[in-house]
Every structure is written in structure tokens, then in C-alpha cells.
């Protein structure tokens, strides 16, 4: 019966298109019946027309063949059409999520869009509070920290099960973290587990036995984690996707392709109904989630849309309820849209800055770098170019980071800049080599580059060229230090100053400046092991002062603003926070869909 119904639904449109196709073929192609119709006229000598004296130069069957071909093509397309279309029932909430997720495997993902879906499907020992984005107990009910700050004991909840019914034990966490660190998985974010004892050694292959990693199941519901050093933000990391729980049985059975398993075992507030490339990911409430009582929506759709205009159009037409990525606001309309009540801006844990290549002349001289830094009028850049209320900043760590009061770096001071440049041997910019600023070829980067180019020219009398590059080329040039100056940005992974300051130590892979400063490294190391919050802050402040004021291998420009849009009278359960993190669980629609 179902089949008949389905076939009937396909038959009618197919028959319609078939008829249209035949009609069209008859009108356009030769060999059809067209008696009595006079479509066009042509000047002809009337004497030439002799009825019955027709010369057949063509084979009439050819026309039939084409006609039939066209009709069959139509039919094929009709079936193709009806085959491709899937009429899903409407979702409670539809969210435009940004780029297509690379994968949904929590231990492999690196992008924010991916994490926003995955955090609905999986969970770690901790989860993020939707209002503040600070870590609160997730699968662990509570934890204890040893007096030396190195051993955490987590007590798991007793009502934990996978959406497919298997119970969850502490042993599953051990398995998951071993997997995240295994060299075979080659997770790009494995570094998030290097704070665990022997984590780095195992990941880099120095240690072969995973049982020596500092994570053990004491019993079914108790997990003991030993760290290399006391780590202030380890609890925040426990809410990060690389440390999420993955379904042991499925991973053991299917290896890396476990994520293609349907139904996919999930331990988060939602389970996966469908995931189609460039189409949508559909999530349904997981009734077996430990906190299912507080899951507010039954079905949530997340659409992967990369075009800002399309996102805005769908939102305006009521097809989408929430758009939560700053890149999904059309930049041409940003300054207008930003004033609408359904557009929400908030402070965000990301900084845009300039990198100098300290391994090249003349940028190996800190005086030159500082002079260039002091010649940048940041207010002008945030007022004229970025336009969504960004805060100009001279420090790298954005304001609002937990337990940290940011320091000031080099403020705008043209006179001091000129003096410093003269001291460095380039009075009035004389003798300063022409150099190159690398930018990623996006409008925002290029516009900012042009502005800085002009400022340096006007204030210091030095000239630079802008080189807008394709993304991977731009990244490669920075990584291999093949540049003079480059624009860059950094988004914090967790709410702590370490995520910003740690990357400029001499050996960090993200340094990319060629700047090596042992005193800075020492301060960061000390801060990393310091358990006292106040002393830790002071160490970080000393380090940041070196970074943005004394040595200036980088010059911070502004702190990002996050933007998302949704109508607060229709959608509730989203709060603005520093990490721009919005768990799916509390989101719901106030009014039913009309």
C-alpha cells in the first residue's frame, strides 16, 4: 500500500512533465504535426509553390527519435527529481551553523561549527554552562583535587547510558582518552591531553604502553586522572570535544568509520537522525541522556551554509531561526544590521594582531617593531573597517578572561614612533627597505592592510606592499617564516590566558614569528605550574608585558566581537558568552511554528 502511494506520488508529476515534454518536442522539433499553424513567415516567390511536388531530403524518423529522446529525458529527470527530494517533517528549531562539518568524530574535529553539532551528541566529564561558558559537571557528578594539584578524582553519575542502551563506565573514559592520544588516530587537537601524565610521550610515540598514561578507572564510576603539572584550566579542558566520550563498542568494531554507524550511539542531549553533506544535520532528543528532563527541543536542524547572503535571506524568510556565526552576517550590511534588536553582539575570546618576522632584517630589531606598533591608530581601524563594535586593544589577551587582568601594550603615539625609528637608524623612514605585508585575501584583511599601509607611510615614511594570498598559501608562508609582516588572529580554545600567551614560547608550533626569548619561556613555564591564582596572574602579566610592550614581535589591533541573530520573542535558551558557545540542550521555540 505504501509503495503504491509512493509510486502514485511520483507518477502524476512524471506524467505531467512527460506531456509537457511531448508537447514541447512537437512544437520545436521537425516531424511533428503542425498543420494549420503558421509560426513565422518568410518572403517566398509564390510561383515556386507547387502542391504535391515535395522533395524529401530528410528521413522523418530522425525527428521521431529525437522527440522520443527528449520525452525520455524528461521522464528520467522527473524520476530523478522525485527521487532526490526528501520531505522531512519540520524541525522545532532550525539553526544555520556555518561551514559543513569536517567530521562528527569528537576527537578529530577542529572547527567551531563542527564542535557546535558534536557538543549536542557527545559529552565529557564536564560540560559548558550555557550562560557563562564555564565548565560545570557533565558526566562526572563531582570531582576532587589532590593538595598538590596534580591528581583529579572524578565521580561519574550512575545513570549514564548510550542512546543505544549500553551502560557507560569509567573504563569507557580511559578507552576514549587513550584513543584521543593514540598516534594512529593522529588527532590534531591531541595537545589538549598533553597535560595528562605521559600523554605527550604516548602521542609522540616515545611511550608505547597506553596503560602508563595518567588516567585510570578506579571502579565503574570513579576515574583517577594524574597530570604532569598542576594545570589551572584542566577542568575547562574536560569540557572540550577532544576529551569527550566515544562509544567503545562501536569504535572497537568499526575503527575510524564508527561515525558512519546508524543509529549512531550518542551520550549527549541529542542523537543523530540524519547527516547529509552540504544539506543538513538533524538531531532528535536523546531520551536516555542523564539530563534529558531539561532538553527543551525535540528536533533541531543544523544547516551548513557558508554564504552570508543566503543565511540572511533564509532567516528573513523565516526558514531559519538562529544564525550563529559572525561570518554569516553580510559584511556590506553589517553596520546597518548591527543596530537591529534581533542582532546580538558580545565580547569574544579572539584577537586580531600583526606578526613581525623577527628572523629578518630590519624586524629583528625590537625598536623597529615597537615603532611600527606605535604608529597604528587602532581606533580608526575599528571605526572605519570592522564596524561591529570591536574594541581596539594593545594587549593580546582579551578582557574578560578568567582570573586575569589584561596589560596595556604599545599605544598610538606617532611622535614616539618616529623617534624610535630614528634611533633604530631609519630617521624619517630613510633607508628602510620596502617590505611586504601578507594578508589572507578576504575583504576585512585587505582593508585593514590598506589602512595600516597608509598609517605607516604617513607617520613613519616607510612603504610596504600588500600581498593578498589564498588561504593555504598564506598559512604556509607564515609557518615557514617567508614573510615580513603578516596579519593574523587567534581564537581562545578555553577561557584562560594560557591559550593566548602559551603560543609565543620559543618552541610552540603556532609562534610563527621566529622570536625566541628565554625569559618569556621561563615566565610561561612558571605560570603553567603555579597553583596560586594571584601569583599565576602576575607571571602572565609579566610575560604579556614583554610580548606586547618591550619586545613586540606581535602588535595586537582589536578584540573580536561575536555576532549572532535570532528573535528573542521566538527563540529562547541562547546566551551570549566569551567563547561564543551555545549548547543545544536549553534552546527552544517560544511560539509554535505557524
Amino acid at each position: 500500500m505504501f509503495f503504491l502511494k509512493r509510486a502514485w506520488r511520483f507518477y502524476l508529476p512524471a506524467r505531467f512533465f512527460f506531456a509537457v515534454g511531448q508537447l514541447a518536442a512537437r512544437k520545436v522539433l521537425p516531424g511533428g504535426r503542425r498543420q494549420g499553424t503558421r509560426l513565422v513567415s518568410w518572403k517566398v516567390n509564390p510561383a515556386g509553390i507547387q502542391p504535391g511536388n515535395v522533395l524529401r531530403v530528410t528521413d522523418p524518423r530522425a525527428g521521431d527519435c529525437l522527440r522520443r529522446g527528449l520525452a525520455i529525458l524528461m521522464l528520467v529527470i522527473c524520476f530523478g527529481l522525485t527521487g532526490c527530494l526528501r520531505q522531512d517533517p519540520p524541525a522545532d528549531v532550525t539553526i544555520i551553523n556555518g561551514a559543513e562539518p569536517q567530521t562528527l568524530d569528537p576527537q578529530i574535529i577542529t572547527g567551531q561549527a563542527d564542535m557546535r553539532i558534536v557538543s549536542g551528541l557527545f559529552e565529557g566529564l564536564m560540560r559548558l554552562d550555557p550562560k557563562t561558558a564555564r565548565a560545570v559537571p557533565g558526566m562526572a557528578e563531582r570531582y576532587e583535587l589532590s593538595p598538590d594539584g596534580k591528581v583529579y578524582t572524578f565521580h561519574l553519575r550512575t545513570n549514564l547510558v548510550w542512546s543505544t542502551g549500553e551502560p557507560i563506565t569509567a573504563e569507557d573514559f580511559v578507552f576514549s582518552w587513550h584513543r584521543a592520544l593514540s598516534p594512529d588516530l593522529a588527532s590534531e587537537y591531541a595537545g589538549q591531553l598533553y597535560y595528562i601524565k605521559n600523554g605527550e610521550a604516548y602521542n609522540t610515540g616515545k611511550l608505547k604502553d597506553p596503560d602508563q598514561i595518567g588516567v585510570q578507572a578506579v571502579d565503574d564510576h570513579t576515574l583517577r586522572v594524574e597530570l604532569e603539572h598542576p594545570t589551572a584550566f584542566f577542568i575547562d579542558l574536560c569540557a572540550f570535544s577532544t576529551l569527550y566520550l566515544v562509544p567503545r563498542q562501536a569504535v572497537e568494531k568499526y575503527g575510524d568509520s564508527w561515525i558512519r554507524l546508524r543509529p549512531l550511539p550518542s551520550c549527549g542531549a541529542f542523537e543523530l537522525v540524519a547527516w547529509r553533506l552540504n544539506d543538513k544535520a538533524r538531531l532528535r532528543k536523546n531520551p536516555r541522556y542523564w539530563d534529558a528532563a531539561n532538553t527543551r527541543s525535540e528536533i533541531i536542524d543544523l544547516l551548513p551554509i557558508a554564504s552570508a547572503t543566503t543565511a540572511l535571506n533564509l532567516y528573513e524568510q523565516g526558514r531559519a531561526d538562529i544564525v550563529w556565526d559572525k561570518n554569516l552576517v553580510p559584511s556590506e550590511l553589517l553596520d546597518v544590521l548591527i543596530h537591529r534588536p534581533d542582532f546580538h553582539t558580545f565580547d569574544y575570546l579572539g584577537t586580531m594582531f600583526l606578526r613581525f618576522n623577527a628572523s629578518r632584517k630590519p624586524f629583528d630589531d625590537p625598536r623597529v617593531r615597537r615603532a611600527l606598533g606605535m604608529a597604528i591608530d587602532r581606533q580608526r581601524i575599528v571605526a572605519k573597517i570592522t564596524k561591529s563594535g570591536e574594541t581596539a586593544t594593545s594587549g593580546l589577551v582579551p578582557p574578560g578572561v578568567a582570573n586575569y587582568d589584561p596589560v596595556k601594550g604599545l599605544e598610538y603615539n606617532p611622535d614616539a614612533a618616529r623617534k624610535l625609528l630614528a634611533e633604530a637608524g631609519y630617521p624619517g623612514g630613510k633607508g628602510f627597505p620596502r617590505f611586504i605585508d601578507l594578508v589572507y585575501g578576504s575583504k576585512l584583511y585587505v582593508d585593514t592592510g590598506v589602512e595600516i599601509q597608509q598609517m605607516w607611510h604617513d607617520t613613519l615614511g616607510i612603504d610596504m606592499e600588500l600581498h593578498p594570498l589564498e588561504w593555504k598559501v598564506y598559512l604556509g608562508a607564515q609557518a615557514h617564516l617567508e614573510y615580513d609582516v603578516a596579519q593574523a588572529s587567534w581564537i581562545g580554545d578555553y577561557n584562560d590566558a594560557m591559550t593566548f600567551l602559551g603560543m609565543f614560547t620559543s618552541e610552540d608550533g603556532n609562534n610563527h614569528t621566529g622570536w625566541k626569548f628565554p625569559a618569556y619561556d621561563r615566565l610561561i613555564d612558571q605560570a603553567g605550574e603555579q597553583t596560586d591564582v594571584r601569583q599565576r596572574e602576575q607571571l602572565f602579566q609579566q610575560a604579556e608585558t614583554i610580548l606586547v610592550r618591550d619586545e613586540a614581535p606581535i602588535v595586537p589591533i582589536y578584540v573580536y566581537k561575536g555576532v549572532n541573530y535570532f528573535r528573542t520573542n521566538e527563540i529562547q535558551g541562547i546566551w551570549q558568552n566569551l567563547l561564543d558557545d551555545h549548547p543545544l540542550q536549553p534552546i527552544y521555540r517560544v511560539r509554535p511554528t505557524h
Binding site: V44, G48, Y189, A190
Partner: protein, 304 residues
């Protein structure tokens, strides 16, 4: 026999294409795993490259790829690690083919009558208006046409949806946006073809034998005039069926065109090579179909 030979000849051609695509995409600076954030240890990068055999010499990688290809396996995407190229093609190609097929019908359905009509009225105002429209369709690129269509039909009048791929209504705007350029091309080819056909000797001969004007136009001139359109239709269909990055991006259509462009931006080697091969196969296949159609249309053409 002739077609069989052509098909056999396509195999070395595909090998050359795959080798070129394989080498060129690897020569581009940057790799699939060069991201803004460098992993905490260079070892991770090394393991990642080893996992996908990207640390081997290129000839070895290529042989490995050919070996997989012989089993019908295009490999795994390096960016979308859960998806094989076969999955991407299986999910995206039917959608792109549907859209492309519709746009193809649209291009022929609009272009052929328009070209025919303008040629039949050559020199008079319908010809001028029609030719101007065809020219406009050829000149204005898709990324201009698509937003204008959305603006008018979806945003202003609310007749059609702005984007997505859910019902037949969702297909109208992308079909038009994708097909208009080709419709213009077809109209122009058709018009030129008609004009030259009307001047050829067999038409004069037919006319002198007293053939009716309609019959002359439709039955005799049309068949010769449509030949340039037919030879254009092969590559056009291949182009349309493999999807369009711009249209799929603007209308958020889950087709395959997006993957080819994003694949090269992401240095997703396997995607680029796999989709290039797919495109080449379609082009070769459809050109074969075009040559076959020639034998049906033009009695003078015969392949040995």
C-alpha cells in the same frame, strides 16, 4: 566498431588526466593538513601524513591510487575524513545532475525557439529584441543573475523560496540562474545556424520545388541549423551535470560543484583528482553521444 575504438581510446586519456591532476594539485603550496592552528607536536602532523600515505614519494602514491581506482575506489576525502569520494559522488551527483538536467532543458527550451524565432524575423524588431536578450544572457554572469532572481522572485514577491533544495519550487530559480547563460549561447548558435542554412543550396532547391515555408523551415533548415547547437550541447551538458560552484553556493544546494572548488582550496587531493576524473569521463561520454546524434541529424555524416 567506431564507438568501441573511441571508448578504448578514452582509457589512456583518463590515465593522463588523472596523472596530471594528481601531480598538479600536489605541486600547489600548502597541504590538506596545514591549518591555522598547528598541532601541539610536529609528530601529530607526521602521523597524519603517514596515515594517508602522503609521506611516500609521489609515484608510489599514484600507483597506490591507481590500484584503488581499479577496484572502483576513489579514496577518502582528506578534509571530510568520514566520507569517501564515492560517498560524495553518490550523495552530490544526483542532485547536481537533476539541476544540470533541468538547466539543460531550460537552455534548449528557451534557446532553440528564441534562436529560431529571431532568425525567422531577421532584421526586424523581434530579431533585435531577441538577439539583445540572448546577448544579455550570455554576458551577465551567474553570480549576478542569481541574486537578482532571488531579490525579485523570493525576497520582493515571495513567490519562490530563497534557497535550499526541498521541493520542485526550490528548483525553479537555480535552474533559471544556471540555464540562462546557456540559453543565450544556444539562441545565438541557433540563429546563426538558421541564417546560414536558409542560404544553403538545398534549401533553395527545396524552395524552388515549391515546398511550404513552414515545412522548409522546420523540416529542412532546422536539421542543419541545429548541428552547431548539438555539438555545443555535449560539453554544455557535461558542464551542467557536474554542478556549478556559484549556483550551488548561492542556493545552498547539496550538489557536487561545491566540492570541486572547495576541494582545491582545501588541498583535498583525493577530491580534486576524483572529481576531475568524473568530469573527464562525462565529457568524453557526452562527446560520443554528440557524435552519434550527428549521424541521426545530418545524412552526410557517417563514421567508419
Amino acid at each position: 566498431m567506431y564507438y568501441l575504438r573511441r571508448l578504448l581510446f578514452a582509457i589512456p586519456l583518463l590515465l593522463v588526466i588523472s596523472a596530471l591532476a594528481f601531480a598538479l594539485v600536489r605541486l600547489a603550496p600548502g597541504g590538506p593538513f596545514d591549518n591555522e592552528r598547528v598541532p601541539a607536536s610536529p609528530e601529530i602532523q607526521r602521523h597524519l601524513l603517514a596515515k594517508y600515505h602522503l609521506d611516500e614519494p609521489m609515484w608510489k602514491q599514484y600507483l597506490r591510487y591507481l590500484g584503488d581506482l581499479a577496484h572502483g575506489d576513489f579514496g577518502v576525502s582528506l578534509k571530510y575524513r568520514d566520507h569517501s569520494i564515492n560517498d560524495i559522488i553518490a550523495e552530490g551527483l544526483p542532485v547536481s545532475m537533476t539541476l544540470g538536467g533541468l538547466a539543460f532543458c531550460f537552455a534548449l527550451g528557451v534557446g532553440l525557439p528564441l534562436g529560431f524565432f529571431t532568425a525567422a524575423n531577421r532584421g526586424r524588431w523581434p530579431d533585435r529584441v531577441g538577439s539583445w536578450l540572448a546577448m544579455l544572457a550570455v554576458c551577465v554572469p551567474g553570480f549576478v543573475i542569481a541574486p537578482v532572481l532571488i531579490m525579485v522572485f523570493a525576497v520582493k514577491w515571495h513567490w519562490l523560496p530563497v534557497a535550499l533544495w526541498e521541493s520542485p519550487l526550490h528548483m525553479i530559480l537555480p535552474t533559471m540562474a544556471l540555464g540562462l547563460y546557456f540559453a543565450g549561447q544556444v539562441a545565438r548558435l541557433m540563429r546563426e545556424g538558421m541564417l546560414s542554412a536558409m542560404q544553403s543550396e538545398f534549401v533553395t532547391a527545396a524552395r524552388s520545388k515549391g515546398l511550404g515555408e513552414n515545412e522548409l523551415l522546420f523540416k529542412h533548415a532546422f536539421r542543419i541549423a541545429v548541428l552547431p547547437v548539438v555539438s555545443y550541447a555535449g560539453p554544455m551538458l557535461a558542464d551542467l551535470l557536474t554542478g556549478s560552484f556559484i549556483i550551488e553556493n548561492i542556493f545552498q544546494i547539496p550538489g557536487i560543484g561545491v566540492f570541486l572548488v572547495n576541494g582545491s582550496l582545501n588541498r583535498d587531493y583525493t577530491v580534486v583528482v576524483g572529481l576531475s576524473l568524473l568530469y573527464a569521463m562525462l565529457l568524453i561520454g557526452l562527446n560520443l553521444v554528440v557524435d552519434f546524434a550527428y549521424t541521426l541529424l545530418d545524412p552526410r555524416v557517417k563514421y567508419e
